[in-house]
Symmetry: C2
Subunit: 272 residues, 2 copies
């Protein structure tokens, strides 16, 4: 049985950095992993391959959307620790829809017979809008994970994501496996105070804390996962991903969140 | 003739802060202004009113989408310097579409006879996705303005916005009036070096520079425009908005941008 994960969060919050290092940690534990980037930036898999790969939409455009003319290797590459990588890409600027892009990608996986080939399939999805289109990965996912940091904007986006998971859980199998706290800084950033408050209010938990660390920033720029770097602080940075991989493979939380009202969140998390 | 402006930019870049202070500057020069927030966060007009107003979708929901039961005052409020404010809101989390929300809002403006009542109508729109839905304001706009700061992520979003403006300019009147540089920091943030490079490449210009200043951050938190604050640095912060208002009222640039390719932008702006 393939485990489908959907990693969501506000743009720039660290979804791709987290996804790539989580995929690496899962693969190092022996899992066969496919990571699918669903962000117009199409740089989700860069830390795993060191390259910007062509998106599904780019490749389909080249063959005028004749699926039968595409080979698997045109869209699926192999990265660090054998993680397979695929970039769905974003809707064409000004006209497309995020939902269509994800739908086309899942169709291709079925046509290639890849849909059930992996132990874990991980969607890395932009979570700023949470419209019908960008929620499509929730139709396939077993678990959603929300990445946020200890600030209002990313928590506001996390609350809308909880709303989407709550709604989708009525008709689909998806459940919330928790909040991943990124850029955690106990000295200057308040640790996870706001995140803990938010998680408690919506009925979930912070299941991983990833430190704000320059090594993480530089690994991303270098197109490498944290597991490939030789640095005294490597273990501080890789441990949260190993623990997260362990948590997900051994039966994570499976909750239906109770999101806060829009006004309530401004009061509780203090957007002001 | 009403001047329609569409202000776009990545989430958290400072669209609402900029829109509210620009609306205020325009109103203080005598223009009748309507500001329309088109972001799920629906806090675009907060600096003008000090309140979170109900969104069009909230209000329509209450009357089961019977437009005829809504009064103007249910959705249009009055803020600082007489600026009229309206929050379109975002697509319902998990199911709606950004395009539908904006379409409903414009329909209401026509029904209330407001579409041509103002000197300036300003749309404040989330620019992370630039899909068909969130591009709808470009169908009504005379000018698009893109807010970015001197970093890769916001410039990547700006490039996709240029792509959308280029495409829309074939069938609609919209043209690009330039880039607004926000959070400009000459000491620590590199000034506008990357933005100038980007603007030159796509055939536009940086038309305003708004400093990174704690007074701007605090004004937003306080629910006030910069024009209402009594502080020695007030003039440094309000001047860019007055100059921008002057520029827009006196015939701005009207360009069709030539966006960079996705790969090119990673190389030139150095996402890595
Ligand atoms: N824990 C962290 N510590 C330091 N920098 C980080 C951390 N997580 C992410 N970053 C940096 O933040 C930027 C955005 O990360 P990215 O993973 O691309 O975000 P997203 O995929 O959500 O848009 C990158 O430059 C990355 O290096
Ligand atoms: N020039 C600036 N200097 C300092 N802080 C700023 C500046 N512009 C915006 N901010 C802060 O950035 C945050 C996001 O701004 P906001 O206008 O809400 O962004 P958006 O509407 O693009 O999501 C706010 O907390 C605001 O105070
Ligand atoms: S559903 Fe979402 S991604 Fe699709 S067009 Fe609408 S706002 Fe854009
Ligand atoms: Mg990403
Ligand atoms: Mg805003």
């Amino acid at each position: 049985m393939t485990l489908f994960l959907a990693i969501y969060g506000k743009g720039g919050i660290g979804k791709s950095t987290t996804s790539a290092n989580l995929s690496a940690a899962l693969a190092l534990k022996g899992a066969r992993v496919l990571q699918i980037g669903c962000d117009p930036k199409h740089d989700s898999t860069f830390p795993l391959t060191g390259h910007l790969q062509n998106t599904v939409i780019d490749v389909l455009n080249e063959v005028n959307f004749h699926h039968e003319e595409i080979e698997v290797d045109d869209v699926v590459k192999v990265g660090f620790a054998g993680v397979n990588t695929l970039e769905a890409g974003g809707p064409p600027a000004g006209s497309g829809c995020g939902g269509y892009v994800v739908g086309e990608t899942v169709k291709l996986l079925h046509e290639f017979g890849l849909y059930n080939k992996y132990d874990v399939i991980l969607f890395d999805v932009l979570g700023d809008v949470v419209c019908g289109g960008f929620s499509v990965p929730l139709n396939y996912a077993d678990y959603a994970l929300i990445i946020a940091c200890n600030d209002f904007d990313s928590i506001f986006a996390a609350n809308r994501l909880c709303l989407a998971v709550e709604q989708k859980s009525e008709r689909y199998k998806v459940r919330l496996a928790g909040i991943i706290a990124n850029r955690v800084d106990h000295e200057l950033g308040g640790g996870t105070t706001l995140l803990d408050e938010f998680a408690a209010r919506v009925g979930t938990r912070v299941v991983a804390q990833i430190p704000y660390h320059d090594l993480i920033r530089r690994s991303r720029l270098a197109g490498k996962t944290l597991f490939e770097l030789d640095h005294p602080d490597q273990v501080i940075c890789t441990t949260p991903f190993e623990q997260l991989a362990e948590y997900l493979l051994n039966g994570p939380l499976a909750e239906v969140p109770q999101p806060m009202g829009d006004r309530e969140i401004f009061e509780v998390i203090g957007g002001w």
